[in-house]
């Protein structure tokens, strides 16, 4: 180890003055930059009121939306308003029109049913219908038999006639005279068990719902008549009730959620995966395993007389109502086509124009300037505005997207190409010119070989980046998958479709990225050896 004496240190400092005595700006460039950016962040935080927005965000929804990307919910409803339990599934349930999944167990038994039916019927109540007729609940014939108090239109029902009505009805009538309630015991569904996950389930009997999660059970009393749900005073944190008597939510994490109302319990059970990805519930292939589908497609009896089973299968996949494969593929192809044709046209137009704009190739300052300003104009009018312009002209679709990319990128390529041309090596041109070549030949053999790899490389780079921009401008109507994505997101229901389209886009971008990189590295390789 050599140690420097103070003299030597001073000597080094004297020989390299700029290394030890930098200007203030250079010495503090980094701290100043960091402080400036920190101040800017504070300003932006205030400008966009980021804190308020972040705290007001619906973070609870975010989890559900994210879960929707890779899973789906089945939402059976158990109705117990009448006393008999009835399990229903929504019309477009992923399980088809009439499912009986094994996780919903219905136990038959005797149930006490309170039936609400139109007025008890028969002749006796007819006397009571005079006033009610004005409210048009009754059959048209009723007013004919009514007597007397037809004029009391606004009082709805006079006390006396109401009493008559009540007498006529058989059981524990509840209220108005135009309908009446009857209690009877009959066979029905006495109990429904819904299994949410391994340790969680919901047990529903008339008048009570028992929710269990991980060994902890809570009994909720349901009262359809008074529209109340009675919950115990202390609830575990996975059960919530806004106020006493109102509906109760029980959460089971990713597995699902149960909403208990006074007259109905709505269950949402979540399953991992994409439901009915290949065939929707209307398809004859729906619900079959892969070997079954293959067997039906190739050797089964014809499902439709006019077409082979394979054709039916393909048609069912493409026209899947839930996933709309055919439409998604067409829109994706539109996006690819928009980027490809737009970039290609832009290159084709910008190539000759850039020769005219380069001041060393075309020594005409006026023409150079006009073309360069034209390129700047095209670049500076945002792709968004071009997209809107052409959407208005051609209607929504890929023609608008192609034109928008074409117009923007003609400017970009024109600028890049003319700059490349201005930086070329003049010796080759001179050499070709000195042997008496025509002006066209000078460009062809003196200029083009120098710049072509760079030109193509830049074109490929923009082809790939345009594939991404084409997705976005699609959302304003310029064709492609953008609009479809946007529509799927707007409903907030179809996040799994969004995930599907995103995966397709990612695949396309990766494939094009690799093609473009491979071509570019081949093009620039000889140049690197120079």
């Amino acid at each position: 180890m050599t140690t420097l004496t103070a003299e030597q240190i001073d000597d080094i400092a004297r020989r390299h003055p700029d290394a030890f005595r930098q200007s203030f700006l250079r010495r503090f460039a980094y701290p100043l930059g960091v402080v400036g950016l920190a101040l800017y962040t504070v300003y932006a935080w205030w400008f966009f009121s980021i804190g308020a927005v972040l705290t007001n965000g619906h973070w609870d929804i975010a989890g559900a939306y994210l879960a929707d990307w890779v899973s789906y919910e089945v939402r059976p409803e158990v109705d117990y308003e009448t006393g008999d339990l009835k399990v229903t599934f929504p019309k477009y349930s992923p399980l088809g029109s009439d499912p009986h999944p094994d996780w919903v167990k219905e136990t038959p038994g005797k149930v006490t049913v309170t039936v609400t039916r139109p007025d008890a019927g028969g002749g006796a109540p007819a006397t009571s219908t005079g006033a009610a007729a004005t409210t048009s609940f009754m059959s048209p014939s009723s007013p004919a038999t009514s007597t007397g108090d037809g004029g009391v239109a606004n009082s709805f029902m006079s006390p006396s006639s109401s009493a008559t009505s009540m007498g006529a009805s058989a059981g524990t009538g509840s209220g108005s005279g135009d309908t009446a309630s009857v209690t009877e015991v009959r066979d029905g569904t006495a109990r429904v068990d819904v299994k949410i996950s391994g340790t969680s389930h919901v047990e529903i009997v008339p008048g009570a719902v028992v929710v269990t999660r991980g060994g902890q059970s809570v009994t909720l009393k349901t009262d359809p008549e008074n529209h109340r749900v009675e919950a115990p005073a202390t609830l575990p944190d996975w059960i919530s009730q806004r106020k006493p008597g109102s509906k109760v939510y029980a959460y089971f994490g990713f597995a699902g959620r149960v909403e208990i109302r006074a007259d109905v319990t709505k269950v949402s059970k979540r399953f991992l995966g994409w439901e009915n990805f290949w065939f929707d519930t209307r398809s004859p292939y729906w619900g079959k395993t892969f070997p079954q589908v293959m067997a039906l497609a190739f050797s089964g009896d014809r499902i439709e007389p006019g077409r082979s089973n394979l054709a039916v299968m393909w048609d069912n996949i493409v026209n899947n109502a839930e996933w709309q494969h055919g439409d998604v593929w067409i829109k994706l192809l539109q996006t690819i086509v928009m980027a490809f044709v737009g970039t290609l046209f832009a290159v084709t137009l910008a190539f000759p124009l850039s020769f005219l704009a380069a001041r060393n190739i075309t020594p005409n300052p006026v023409l150079n300037q006009i073309l360069k300003r034209f390129f700047d104009f095209q670049r500076s009018v945002d792709m968004l505005i071009w997209a809107l312009f052409f959407t208005r002209a051609f209607g929504p679709g890929p023609l608008a997207g192609i034109s928008a990319i074409f117009f923007t990128d003609t400017g970009t390529f024109g600028k890049l190409y003319s700059e490349s041309l201005e930086n070329i090596d003049d010796k080759q041109r001179e050499g070709v010119r000195s042997v008496g070549a025509s002006p066209a030949a000078v460009q062809r053999f003196g200029v083009v070989p120098q710049v072509l790899p760079v030109f193509i490389s830049q074109a490929l780079y923009f082809w790939e980046s345009n594939t991404r921009s084409a997705t976005i401008i699609g959302a304003v109507g310029a064709g492609g998958i953008g609009l479809k994505l946007w529509e799927a997101m707007r409903t907030n229901q179809d996040w799994e479709n969004v995930a599907y389209m995103v995966i397709l886009i990612l695949i396309v971008v990766f494939v094009f990225d690799n093609i473009s990189n491979a071509l570019r590295s081949r093009l620039t390789e000889p140049a690197a050896q120079d």
Binding site: F47, R379, M383, I385, F389, F390, R392, P398, L485, W486
Partner: protein, 323 residues
């Protein structure tokens, strides 16, 4: 001796000349074949693409050609000054209380008398979205790029993971991120900031690590020789030489982000894009024209400023992107 040598070489060249020439002709023929084949392939793809685009478009190209300037036709204001009144929120003589000609209603008052015209304020919002997103992208891209560079990170797995991560950030459609956060935060500029930031992290990260891989490693070697740890080697050996390039790329990204945040605005994420879309859909010709003019002027200014600054930072190299 010399003669024999000369004849030997001469005969070798003479014999070989035909070989060389033949080989050259073969190469040329192959190249021509590839060129022609490639061009034919390109032409077929182009024709098929055009047919497909025309077929799936709402209107056919030939039928719609007379409507090419419909958009421009919608923008003709009632008189020449309308556009300027709309731009600066001055009262209009055509004002009947409807939103179309009621320009002063959009004024953003800073003090009791001083106001910022609506569209300038919205433009500022868009610029701030782009700037903040570029800044966030720069910070994270800066932090990640050294881990993705071959010359600084020995672990192949770490490099691979970081690179794939940045690729996913880059390729993930911005519009989906914006849409997702719009669902959480409701309408406003924050979703656009998040979406553009995420894309910027990936895009800048890639450009940054390529710069780092091309950096001169002598400074790093020197620091390694005196026992500098990884952080010191990066901070004192690499960062000073790549910083101008980093800043240049960040400026380039800022230009791109201004455009991206405008487009995201048009799908509901605030800023000038949103008012532009609203104005077009409501048929407010003078307002639309004012916004387009302002957008155009802003982009020209941003591009010029960024080009000037990049030229100062890295000289001619600034324009060599896309290689």
């Amino acid at each position: 001796m010399a003669l024999a040598d000369a004849t030997g070489r001469d005969s070798y060249i003479r014999d070989g000349r035909y070989d060389v020439e033949r080989h050259w002709r073969d190469l040329n023929a192959t190249r021509r074949l590839y060129t022609i084949g490639g061009l034919i392939l390109l032409a077929v793809a182009l024709v098929a693409s055009l047919w497909f685009a025309n077929e799936t478009n709402a209107g056919k190209f030939i039928d719609r050609l007379p409507h090419l300037f419909d958009f421009a036709g919608d923008l003709i204001p009632r008189d020449g000054w309308e556009m300027w009144r709309a731009l600066f929120d001055r009262p209009s003589p055509y004002d009947t209380g409807s939103l179309q000609y009621n320009y002063p209603v959009g004024r953003v008052y800073v003090t009791d008398t001083f106001y910022i015209p609506e569209y300038f304020y919205k433009m500022l919002e868009t610029l701030n979205i782009a700037l903040l997103a570029t800044f966030i992208g720069f910070t994270f891209g800066f932090a990640l790029c050294f881990l993705a560079a071959k010359n600084l990170t020995a672990s192949r797995w770490l490099r691979f993971t970081v690179r794939r991560f940045m690729e996913i950030l880059r390729a993930f459609p911005e519009i989906v991120i914006a849409g997702f956060f719009l669902a959480i935060f409701s309408l406003g500029p924050i979703p656009a900031i998040i979406a553009v930031s995420i894309h910027t992290i990936g895009a800048l990260g890639k450009m940054f690590f390529e710069v780092v891989e091309n950096a001169d490693m002598k400074a790093d070697e020197g620091l390694r020789a005196v026992g500098g740890n990884w952080l010191e080697r990066v901070w004192f050996g690499i960062v000073p030489q790549v910083m101008p390039n980093f800043l240049s790329y960040a400026l380039l990204r800022f230009e791109i982000n201004v455009r991206a945040s405008t487009i995201l605005g048009a799908v509901g994420a605030g800023g000038i894009g949103e008012v532009l879309r609203l104005s077009i859909s409501r048929g407010h010709e003078a307002k639309t024209l004012a916004i387009i003019l302002l957008l155009f002027a802003t982009i020209v200014c941003v591009d010029q400023f960024s080009a000037w600054l990049r030229k100062k930072l890295v000289g001619k190299q600034a324009f060599e992107f896309g290689r």
